[in-house]
């Protein structure tokens, strides 16, 4: 068990900057998720922690040791790979036992530990099979068991659920969360799936172009996004981003509609962010503004109304019992407590 410190960590391949001088302090026993679109540097960051990639500059600290020059095997980490990285020529038992054998654990100790790990991921009955005889979810469990069979200082998980089908992903996510709370080991988890990040993380680091955009609890990055990128990346459906300006303390859309009062200085260009959940749907005439429905979608647990708002389309979430048709007119009001304003040039948040 240990904390991880990254100090001005940089990875460059020639001109291309994969990770741009990032510093990050991951606390002991913390579950930290690196979240971002593909190519944002999250996997590279993790691979540098694992020792599979050498940093161009900067330092990686695990516990009180600078591990830059340590081989992966000497860093005392365990890693779960996206493609599982199982050893196809070994049985499941041998797969799970490998980290113990490679580290010269006594034979008498290997059996009980493998069995315990297999039990934790419910694989006991498959121990003498080969990986190819298992399903995707079972293979992922083998990879997990192989990670937890030792007690490493750090768990590293590289998109461990992304090769599973949607239903299994939800189940495994819960299992993963349960396991991580039980084991209490510092974990770095890479994903591009914001739901995984929201549900699993103690803290999330949202990355883009090799730079951490925001570091915070799931609550913070969802309800208090630091900039336009985080706001647009987190949440499903994505946050509505409405172009306009601030005039005389009111947000005015590019179409000229005066929307809401904002306690901020006037500016020529601004982007108003509002989540679908913070747009209340009313009958026509009863909201702040009347809009025409472009598409009405019923997801079962709620309804999504894509409405034509001048030249832009925005999505509002309605009650699950709401029934409307395309081209119907509805009233929309904004929940003034949860509005976000951004500068379109710098993409920074403007606090209101």
């Amino acid at each position: 068990m240990a904390e991880i410190k990254l100090k001005n960590l940089t990875k460059r391949w020639g001109e291309f900057v994969g990770v741009d001088s990032q510093s990050l302090h991951i606390k002991d026993r913390e579950f930290l998720v690196l979240l971002g679109p593909s190519g944002c540097g999250k996997t590279t960051t993790m691979r540098m922690i694992a020792g599979l990639e050498d940093p161009t500059e900067g330092e990686v600290w695990i516990g009180d040791r600078m591990v830059n020059d340590d081989l992966p095997k000497d860093r005392d980490v365990a890693m779960v790979f996206q493609n599982y990285g199982l050893y196809p020529h070994m049985t499941i038992f041998e797969n799970i036992a490998y980290p113990l054998r490679a580290r010269g654990v006594a034979k008498s100790e290997i059996n009980p530990r493998v069995e315990k790990a297999a039990e934790q991921v419910e694989l006991t009955q498959f121990l003498d099979r080969k990986p190819k005889a298992l399903s995707g979810g079972q293979r992922q469990r083998v990879a997990l068991a192989r990670a937890i069979v030792r007690t490493p200082k750090v768990f590293l998980m590289d998109e461990p659920l992304s090769n599973l089908d949607a239903k299994l992903r939800v189940t495994m996510r819960a299992e993963l969360k349960h396991l991580s709370r039980e084991l209490q080991v510092t974990t770095v988890y890479v994903t591009h799936d914001q739901i995984e990040a929201m549900t699993l993380a103690d803290r999330v680091a949202v990355m883009k172009h090799g730079v951490i955009q925001q570091l915070g609890t799931p609550d913070e990055i969802y309800n208090d996004p630091a900039n336009l990128f985080v706001a647009g990346f987190i949440g499903s459906p994505a946050m509505n981003l409405i172009n306009g300006s601030v005039e005389a303390g009111e947000f005015v859309t590019t179409g000229g509609t005066r929307l809401v009062k904002l306690n901020t200085a006037d500016r020529d260009k601004a982007i108003l962010g509002v989540r679908a959940d913070d747009m209340n749907v009313h009958e026509a005439g009863q909201g702040d503004i009347d809009v025409k429905i472009y598409a009405f979608e019923n997801t079962g647990e709620s309804t999504l109304l894509t409405v034509q708002w001048g030249r832009q389309r925005v999505i509002a979430r309605g009650d699950r019992h709401l029934r409307k048709e395309q081209d119907d007119v509805v009233g929309i009001s904004l929940n003034a407590d949860h509005l976000y304003l951004f500068d379109p040039e710098t993409e920074d948040r403007i606090r209101i």
Binding site: L71, P72, G85, L86, Y98, R103
Partner: protein
């Protein structure tokens, strides 16, 4: 023609074409096979029915032909070549596959390009060199030459097999506590085993069949089977029945190996595909 008839017609055409191809390929082999069991008298007649004899096989192992010595030379040279070539080629192929080096592509091309040089061009330098350092007519000399011939093939083939091993698997083993050499021993070698065996057999076949260098660089002690065939050109003309018997001795191991290589070849090719 109805659709069904058309299908039957084309399927018949396929069968005939395949039979023709097989016929063309097999005729010489069948002829040799028959001749090997014929007496000297029968051999010039294209008889399919005759009294088979094993006499030819006795003769070729006796004085003056002593095919046994050549058989030993061939086996020894081919085996030692493979035993030396495969480990070295595996390490080279692993390096080419997994590390990026300056001029890597160039090196790979050069390695392959050595095979584009016609053997006759370099055989004289070889002869002069071997004469000066006393390697003429030695098995050691032949092994060296064969190594130079099979290594490029082995490196390219094995590299292909190693490329097919997912890098994740190796990285997992490294994180799990293995050094690079342990990764190669515990993960790469077992996973590439079908490929290694295929390459080994391939190299063995090349070394076994090698003719030109053995012809020029040996004359008595280190003569191999293919060169041994020339012994059967006697004063009474070509001794086809003996030639054929020796031919079968040369071919027999190749048949067995080809059967083995076929099974592993398919396995080797599909290995990378099933993750």
């Amino acid at each position: 023609m109805t659709g069904k008839q058309r299908r039957q017609f084309w399927s018949a055409v396929h069968t005939v074409l395949i039979l023709v191809a097989i016929f063309i390929m097999l005729v010489p082999i069948v002829w040799i096979f028959l001749a090997a069991f014929k007496t000297h008298v029968d051999v010039y007649q294209l008889k399919l029915f005759f009294t088979p004899t094993l006499e030819n096989f006795d003769i070729v192992f006796d004085d003056p032909y002593r095919l046994g010595e050549k058989l030993f030379n061939s086996t020894f040279v081919a085996l030692v070549t493979v035993i030396i070539a495969i480990p070295i080629a595996t390490l080279a192929a692993y390096s080419f596959s997994r590390f990026s080096m300056r001029g890597e592509t160039m090196m790979l091309v050069i390695i392959l390009a050595t095979q584009f040089v016609p053997a006759v061009v370099i055989i004289l330098p070889f002869f002069v060199m071997f004469r000066d350092i006393g390697l003429l007519d030695t098995r050691t000399g032949l092994i060296l030459v064969n190594l130079a011939i099979v290594m490029p093939f082995a490196i390219w083939m094995i590299k292909g097999f190693i490329d097919g091993i997912p890098i994740d698997t190796e990285e997992a083993a490294m994180v799990d506590g293995s050094s690079r050499l342990q990764v190669i021993r515990n993960i790469v070698l077992p996973m590439a085993a079908p490929g290694l065996l295929t390459s080994a057999i391939f190299c063995f076949i090349i070394a076994w069949n090698e003719f030109l260098f053995a012809l020029i660089l040996t004359n008595k002690e280190a003569v191999t089977l293919p060169i041994g065939l020339a012994l059967f050109k006697g004063e009474e003309g070509d001794l086809w029945n003996l030639l054929s018997a020796a031919g079968i001795i040369i071919m027999a191991p190749m048949f067995v190996l080809a059967l083995m290589i076929r099974r592993y070849f398919v396995q080797g090719m599909t290995m990378g595909a099933v993750r």
